[in-house]
């Protein structure tokens, strides 16, 4: 059989296992459109260039491979943060554990309840930003998500949110397969911090679409972790208006397979987009950050800072691209991806790319892979710091550039305590 046919069969086989949720006019149209697009493009396959470093099969196969539940007793991240909690258990909204969804300056609705309407503000965004992000590279798992997502939240921010909105993803069933789709719209000058944490499901497919209007600010801090065998494919699609700000940080610890894609479009002048990630993997851990930033306006800034600490055969992947379109003058683009390999078994694969069609821009990118600096380790130890503690200090310092992208000190502390917790649980 030809490759294309194989792909088509695999895609149809997956589609056959899914039920399209019922909904009103606007969402039904969006889902039908996504399904058609999915059929035309097919699910990712091993030979696809964009999946060269990460095997997609367990993300696309009909059933989710089982994932044991983490039995650690540690305090969940963000626990001490005053926030509005929205809980999903294996991808299903849990009203009893969630807070009341009202907060001044913010409208929050469940996708499930909003989709009953014939018309909704989210119509212009749901599956729309995702579809924009399909060029020049296909992202079929996001298309599948737009077609079949069973739940999620629609958040419209009209002012400065009083506190962060926190999406908590609990994992309760070893074989759960969750598909969630969230849409966030920040109106002009609005401000929101969105938190996400938790293992979510044995397999998790999540899309987050974010529209950041002129002068609005969006902060996103996410902690993916705990369950060792969990798998996740996540996408964030963001569109930025004039003088707007988008800042996203992701911490990933554990997880047999994680692919985080980010597609960010700077469409208004003077916009700022920062995206950062810190990943810590020990053993069966494959972590892929795939980022695509498009500069389509004047005097915008983008920063990509990705750091990975790998040991015992863990694998890290980074595919990052900055595209500067014609006319996007005065672009300031920065991209760094680095790995710290704590032993010889671990591996880091990086593909940094720049594509520039404007002449007055400053773009830089770099990628490195290295071991612990032995001179620094000796220096620390000669001052009395034991080997394990000294190594941990060097690991944290390696991650600092990424972690420092979190502006809020309290939230940064929460993330740092996750990092130190991970290090403490491991021997020297």
């Amino acid at each position: 059989m030809a490759k294309a046919e194989l792909k088509q069969d695999a895609t149809e086989a997956r589609i056959a296992t899914l039920d399209m949720p019922k909904g009103g006019k606007w969402i039904a149209a969006a889902r039908a459109d996504a399904l058609a697009r999915l059929r035309a493009m097919g699910l990712p396959a091993r030979r696809d260039e964009y999946w060269r470093y990460t095997r997609p099969d367990t993300l696309t196969q009909a059933d989710a491979p089982a994932a044991a539940l983490f039995d650690g007793k540690e305090r969940p991240v963000f626990d001490s943060v005053d926030r509005l909690r929205i809980v999903f258990v294996d991808g299903v909204f849990d009203a009893a554990s969630s807070d009341d969804l009202t907060m001044s300056g913010v409208e929050i609705e469940r996708l499930e309840s909003a989709s009953g309407a014939d018309i909704h503000w989210a119509k212009d965004l749901y599956g729309v930003l995702e579809a924009r992000g399909q060029k020049p590279v296909d992202r079929p798992l996001a298309v599948l998500n737009s077609a079949f997502a069973t739940d999620g939240v629609l958040i419209r921010v009209t002012g400065k949110a009083a506190k962060p909105v926190s999406l908590i993803y609990t994992h309760a069933s070893e074989s759960s397969d969750a598909i969630l789709h969230h849409v966030v719209k920040l109106e002009k000058g609005a401000e929101l911090t969105l938190l996400e944490n938790g293992p979510a499901a044995a397999r998790f497919n999540k899309v987050l679409e974010v529209e950041v209007a002129d002068g609005a600010r969006f902060h996103h801090i996410r902690a993916q972790g705990r369950d060792h065998e969990r798998r996740a494919a996540t996408h964030v699609f963001a569109r930025l208006g004039t003088e707007s700000q988008f800042k996203s940080f992701t911490l990933t610890v554990n997880g047999v397979l994680t692919r985080n894609e980010a597609v960010i479009e700077l469409t208004g002048d003077d916009a700022v987009a920062h995206i950062a990630g810190a990943a810590m993997g020990d053993g069966a851990f494959h972590h892929d950050d795939t980022v695509f930033i498009t500069h389509d306006a004047v005097n915008c800034e983008s920063r990509q800072v990705f750091k990975k600490v790998l040991r015992n055969g863990a694998v890290g992947v980074f595919q990052g691209k900055i595209l500067v379109k014609e006319g996007a003058q005065k672009t300031d683009g920065y991209q760094i991806s680095q790995s710290l390999l704590l032993d010889g078994d671990s591996q880091f694969l990086a593909k940094p790319e720049l594509e520039i069609y404007a002449d007055d821009v400053a773009c830089s990118h770099g990628s490195t892979s290295g071991a612990i600096d032995m001179d620094a380790l000796y220096y620390l130890r000669s001052r009395g710091v034991p080997r394990k503690e000294a190594t941990d200090l060097l690991v944290l310092s390696f991650l600092a550039e990424a972690v420092d992208e979190i502006e809020d000190e309290g939230l940064r502390e929460e993330i740092v305590s996750r990092l130190t917790g991970w290090l403490d649980r491991r021997g020297g």
Partner: protein, 253 residues
Amino acid sequence: MLEIKNLHVKLEAEDKAILKGVDLVIEPGKVHAIMGPNGSGKSTLSYVLSGRDGYEVTEGEATLDGVDILEMEPEERAAAGLFLAFQYPVEIPGVGNMTFLRTAVNAQRKARGQDEMSAADFLKVIREKAKTLQIDADMLKRPVNVGFSGGEKKRNEILQMAMLEPKMCILDETDSGLDVDAMKLVSDGVNALRDAGRSFLVITHYQRLLDHIKPDVVHIMADGRIIKTGGPDLALEVEKNGYADLLAEAGAA
């Protein structure tokens, strides 16, 4: 305090002997200086004593207060009271100078079974000591040694020594890269630490430092051995005549 007997050291990676039978005894409260031509093994001696990887002791021993230190981990030697001010202090991006020092002070206290120093106490002490070495608040906040000038790095070494209060201090060319005023600051810092229970081994090429930090004993090292030991006058002799006569004398002996 420190007793080194017939110490032979070679490189781990290759068959190259660097120290070829060093004998040295430093009494409590004394200041010893080591001078000697480039490449004679002075830094190697300081590294081997502090526990750096890459060297193999093939013969001899070194004890601190009667305890063999050569089998100890570097951090254990530090906790036992040994300190090396590096000839080339290491830059550690991402680790704040203050965090580094606090971690070190508390790690040593912990190793000795003492309570950790409170953040407030630590801050008070470090501010005071930094001030006398003219290390400003900015240098305390910056990553360890990153972007520090040569002289700033050396002053930072002395600050660490002052905070850790070791009993055996080895200073490897702490004077190199210092301007006249910084030399005075650093020497004052060292002299302030002189104490009946604390000893110093000062490695230097120049008499200038020894004008400030007056040694009790001066050793000349050449080709991995101490070839001559004397009083402060020996340093003056080297300053005046160089090493040629001493080397010839040792060769003839």
